[in-house]
Symmetry: none
Amino acid sequence: MESVFEIIAEPNRRAILSLLVSSHQSVGEIERQLRMPQPTVSKHLRVLRDAGFVESTVDAQRRLYRLKPGPFAELDSWLAQFRRFWSAHVDALERHLDRMDRLEKDQSPTKKKTKQKTSRPKQ
Amino acid sequence: MESVFEIIAEPNRRAILSLLVSSHQSVGEIERQLRMPQPTVSKHLRVLRDAGFVESTVDAQRRLYRLKPGPFAELDSWLAQFRRFWSAHVDALERHLDRMDRLEKDQSPTKKKTKQKTSRPKQ
DNA sequence: CACGTATATACCATTTAGAGTATATAAAAG
DNA sequence: CTTTTATATACTCTAAATGGTATATACGTG
């Protein structure tokens, strides 16, 4: 698992990263907030640290983890090649999502067009 | 494999997506350019289509695949929560990247309210 | 020192994604 | 109709990631 893409493919790791956006956290704090077993947290943090997503500092027995910017820049850089493309469609997309919001829920199984995730890319 | 993150975790799929940035391509064209076995291409395209990354149109026996914007917007949306963080940290690096793929923009050196730029045209 | 707390890691078992191969479907060409 | 071209899919196998459990390490405190 070398690529940044594989790193963020794991939901628990994304949750940890999102937690760390606000501020640095200890392993125990992450464990409690995300309700994961401690070894799980430690193992994911290990992966994240090896990939350069986070760094840790020592505070007595605690380890405080914080984000590092590098891999995010790399992700953004990859996404950049597509950005002009999708941002050109972004208006149409938003309209489309608005429509999906109303129609959502029932997609008849008879027709299998490309399925669209119904989560909101808007913020 | 439902999340867009898992979809782009696969290198061959990222290669296919990058290929499709320029224009739509048939399965055979992708196969030749990327030197993948045809079933591999078809299977990855299936995954990409199910996830909404691409769509296909029929041209005789060929299927022409092209990008769809939705999932890219979703990725960008996730990345957005980190963007202010890392762009603040890698300000110098960002300027470097901007210099590399500069097309226009970059009005004043004074930093305003960390306004979020959703697109940085690059190529 | 012995003990509790905080974190890391080793080991095992399960699951799943991906590759490879063969085959199915479908359209066009002869 | 038979063959060729283009693409999709079914099947099997293997590798690797993840979770769970137990244990190791390290620091702090009484």
